[in-house]
Amino acid sequence: MTTLLPDAPLAPAASLTRPRRRLGRVARVTIILAVVALAVIIVSLWMGTVSVSLWDTLRAAVGIDTGTGADFIVGQLRAPRVYTAALVGALLAASGALMQSIARNPLASPDLLGISSGAAAGAVLCIYLTQNTSSLALAPWAVLGAMVAAALVIVLGSRGSIEPFRLIIAGIGIEFVATAATTLILTKIPDNIVPQAYAWIVGSTNARTWEHVWMGAASCLVILPIGLFMVRRLRVLEMGDDLAAGLGLRPGRLRFVALVIAAIAAGLAAALVGPIAFIALVAPAIARRITRSPGITVAASALMGAILTVAADLAARELLGSIQLPVGLYTSLIGGPYLIYLIVRSKGQFQ
């Protein structure tokens, strides 16, 4: 059992003795996060090279016909992109929260374990085989790719029991394999796809449409309630398999179901925007810290993921003026140093 967060092993006991106060804080922070998420989304809809009044922005963003340029600028260009980013961030963060709970390790996340890259490889394979680029068509392939990657990581990275360090090494390996496979398939796809190719390697929210928004919304509506439903059981599981079994849970099956849900979430996110790195790693960790929650928090994590992704997307759009870089680059620039911080701080704790 290896955990980097010093309070993690002891914290579940604390939640049993003082459930009320803790829950209160989690709920308060979750509400604040929801408000912040809404604010970030509105700012992101409002800001841009073409200035639109805030009132027009708000009306156009919910589909009300304003009769101004906002209908197109906000309604057709910015809103789909921003909403997709928010929904994808929520999916990724939920996926990361589930995986960190299963592996009992803050480093377990679909991007470090190669699952996001596996999903991207599946999506690109679909483009190659069927020439169809709609997210709806890509989704099953991306989910399949995520599942295959997850299965490989687990088979290769466990010896009898799941050991986090083995899982992570296997995950880094599968990550390289999946990214290489994506590049390999991209070279087989005709046309000049160089800029789009980078979108499938680092993740991009560019040129999303309402189709993506609806698919993202449907995915969140399925994944997040299941995640919320599983939270309590997973928290029990974090206290150990024996205790969980004693309380009437089936640890093996629970872990398997949670992993499948996490892989599906990562796959759906990748079908929408490609593999956006580090959101799944960072968002649950921040959510856990600010809620001071003993176990995972799916709702707060999902909101945090939405905030981070929308903010990164805003940076990708506006920071460098006319030069638009894929959002995945910005998330790597934030997430990479955070990962380095985790490693440096962990001292000898995790072997």
Partner: protein
């Protein structure tokens, strides 16, 4: 500790018997390299019979197009492959030895990524156009990234913890790679000319002067040869090594110099290629065990042969186009890394 430690260190290994048992392997490695060179010269978008290749090399007739292909393109990429592959393999063997960590590969640690970033910064921001200038930047980037990688992964449990080093390297590679990609994406001209190089390619820098680079590589090999005995002593621990008359700090510094030169020149030539430095020493060690001199000696031809075979595979799999060699090495090397995860044994120090 790791698999590296399981083998008893044979400081006083009887030299003659070691030489006798290893010589066939050296011959086999060189034979493998010869086969790889022949395949690299013959196969590609257009397969050229060996006799034509022979004529192109020794009885060149500029009127025959196929001979031109061999001389203009295949010879250059084969030479680049030999230099880059041998350099990466030796750099990997050195880092694995000095960190006692089987996952210490300059590509995986982020050293190659640092080198690539320095080159791209030079191109896009300072307008460094000459290969020589880029080479110096490559050395600078490799050195800085190497220091950063060891600073991140080497604290606490020490460099021998495979997870720390690998994860630190992955994070470093992600950050450095993002900046590199971002710089290239903001500069369309540089992107179009350096895209293939960034994926790892043997033809992207065909204009590179091979001879001076080979001399830099040979210098690093010489340094390695001179410190092999000290490194063997270092495997016993710093105190024993000091007692045996070597200076551990100086040995490590010289390793760092060698690795920086080797990784820097390989990256300048062929882009940030990972896994040659992981896979080749891993395979070679199966034969040489703890005999470091032989590990280094065998890594050179096997590394060159491996990168050439990966390159040939990349040429054949996507005819008439081709897959950059870095993609092939990542595909095979990533799988190897995932398989190694099963076999790693980690014991807390």
């Amino acid at each position: 500790m790791t698999t590296l430690e399981r083998e008893p260190v044979r400081l006083d290994a009887p030299r003659r018997s070691a030489a006798r048992s290893m010589t066939p392997w050296l011959i086999a490695a060189i034979a493998l390299l010869v086969v790889a060179v022949i395949l690299s010269l013959c196969l590609g978008a257009r397969s050229i019979p060996l006799s034509t290749v022979w004529d192109a090399l020794f009885h060149y007739n500029p009127d025959i197009a196929e001979q031109g292909v061999v001389r203009e393109s295949r010879v250059v990429r084969t030479l680049i492959g030999i230099v880059a592959g041998a350099a990466l393999a030796l750099a990997g063997a050195l880092t694995q030895t000095v960190t006692r960590n089987p996952l210490a590969d300059p590509g995986l640690l982020g050293i190659n990524a640092g080198s690539a970033l320095a080159i791209v910064v030079g191109i896009t921001i300072f307008g460094v156009r000459t290969f020589g200038g880029q080479l110096w930047l490559a050395f600078l980037g490799a050195g800085l990234a190497g220091v950063a990688a060891f600073a991140i992964g080497g604290r606490g449990a020490g460099m021998s913890s495979p997870v720390r080093l690998a994860l630190g390297g992955a994070a470093l590679t992600a950050v450095l790679g993002s900046v590199t990609t971002a710089l290239l994406l903001t500069n369309p001209d540089a992107l179009s000319s350096f895209r293939h190089w960034l994926a790892g390619s043997l033809i992207a820098r065909a204009e590179a002067p091979i001879l001076p680079l080979a001399i830099v590589g040979l210098f690093a090999v010489l340094v390695t040869a001179l410190i092999t005995r000290s490194l063997t002593a270092l495997a016993l621990g710093d105190d024993s090594a000091a007692a045996l008359g070597t200076r551990p700090g100086r040995t490590r510094a010289l390793v760092m110099v060698s690795v920086t030169l080797l990784a820097g020149l390989a990256t300048a030539l062929a882009g940030p290629i990972a896994f040659i430095g992981l896979a080749v020493p891993h395979l070679v060690r199966g034969v040489t065990k703890a005999r470091l001199g032989w590990l280094f000696a065998l890594s050179l031809p096997v590394g060159a042969a491996t990168i050439l075979l990966c390159d040939v595979f990349g040429r054949l799999v996507a005819r008439p186009g081709e897959v950059p060699v870095g993609v092939t090495t990542a595909l095979l090397g990533g799988l190897l890394l995932a398989l190694m995860a099963r076999r790693l044994t980690v014991v807390t120090l």
